[in-house]
Subunit: 197 residues, 2 copies
């Protein structure tokens, strides 16, 4: 033990896991999320396919690590943002940042917000990260006077609908996302109107 940093092997292992996940994203960007293959991933890493099972107990576990990774990065981005004081402007800025981040990487968007792999369901731990992201959005909405669960559901579904239409039909464009600010106003006005009659 002496002379060796405690947990050096664990650190090295964690670094290798992170390297594999990063390479997996790279491969997904090249081949599409459906074209991600353990054989192909191993080839790109310079190892053999069964060796990956030392780091992930299944392909879905790899997806899960990628899912968690994407949500962590999104969380970082949302938390790093300086928001305007005006709650409504904060909601707009926050959602704009969300949409920008999400649309910047098609396979990541698909893995995080669509269900492109029918057998993949995120683990409880990874799903908790997604709920953290949702929690940030809800906090912004709450500050803008949107507290009703139904209003929150509708708002989230609207943003998801825009993102989904954008990535599916016009990736890289703004045909849907350009309406984001206007729709945020529409939803906030409507929610405020009904909560304070």
């Amino acid at each position: 033990m002496i002379g060796t940093p405690a947990g050096a092997v664990a650190e090295r292992r964690a670094a290798r896991v992170a390297e594999i996940v990063a390479t997996a994203w790279e491969l997904a960007r090249d081949e599409g999320i459906g074209g991600l293959t353990l054989h192909g991933l191993a080839r790109r890493l310079g190892i053999r396919q069964p060796s990956l099972y030392a780091y992930f107990e299944s392909k879905n576990a790899l997806y899960d690590a990628m899912f968690a990774d994407g949500n962590r990065k999104l969380l970082e981005r949302l938390d790093a943002q300086r928001l305007p004081n005006d709650p409504r402007r904060a909601v707009k800025a926050s959602m704009q940042a969300f949409v920008d981040f999400v649309l910047a990487d098609t396979p990541r968007c698909q893995l995080l917000f669509q269900r492109p792999i029918p057998t993949f369901e995120p683990s409880a731990e990874s799903y908790a990260l997604a709920e953290d992201v949702l929690g940030r959005v809800i906090a912004r909405l709450d500050a803008a006077g949107v507290e009703d669960q139904g209003d929150i559901d509708c708002f989230v579904a609207m943003v998801a609908g825009l993102v989904d239409a954008q990535i599916s039909n016009d990736p890289g464009g703004t045909r849907w996302t350009r309406h984001l600010d206007r729709l945020v106003d529409l939803y906030l006005d409507d929610a405020n109107r009904r909560s304070t009659p």
Copy 2:
């Protein structure tokens, strides 16, 4: 030729194709859309997997036939509906029928409106059917005074967002879809306000 109905073989073949597609939907409902396998489908049909290639040149061609089938049924449903005279009520009734139909069959909903099989893209002919469906919706919207492409896009994305959230997070429930009528009003009011200032 005499004595045999013209195109009897073609008819029998078409009937067999329809039977295979129906069995494929059945299997998809049992095993999930991702669990649909040519081997499994053939087994359920009492034939061998390569025999399916007499009817579909690839698995994606089978998906394509299912995609077309689902859209045709949806189109029938929409066209069979008697709509209220009031354009706004017509939009609501139409969208309610749309959402009901779509949510009644999870795998069908996934194949038609999500992208659960990364390698599958509908053919031009099948996609035209999906555009017919969209055309019906647009006609209803137009009658209600929504003509701007941006407004149509937002409306469609909103409905898709509701459906997606509902099927993904609360299949069989109404947590999202129960807001449909209210959101239709919200969108129509907004569109009308901006088109006739």
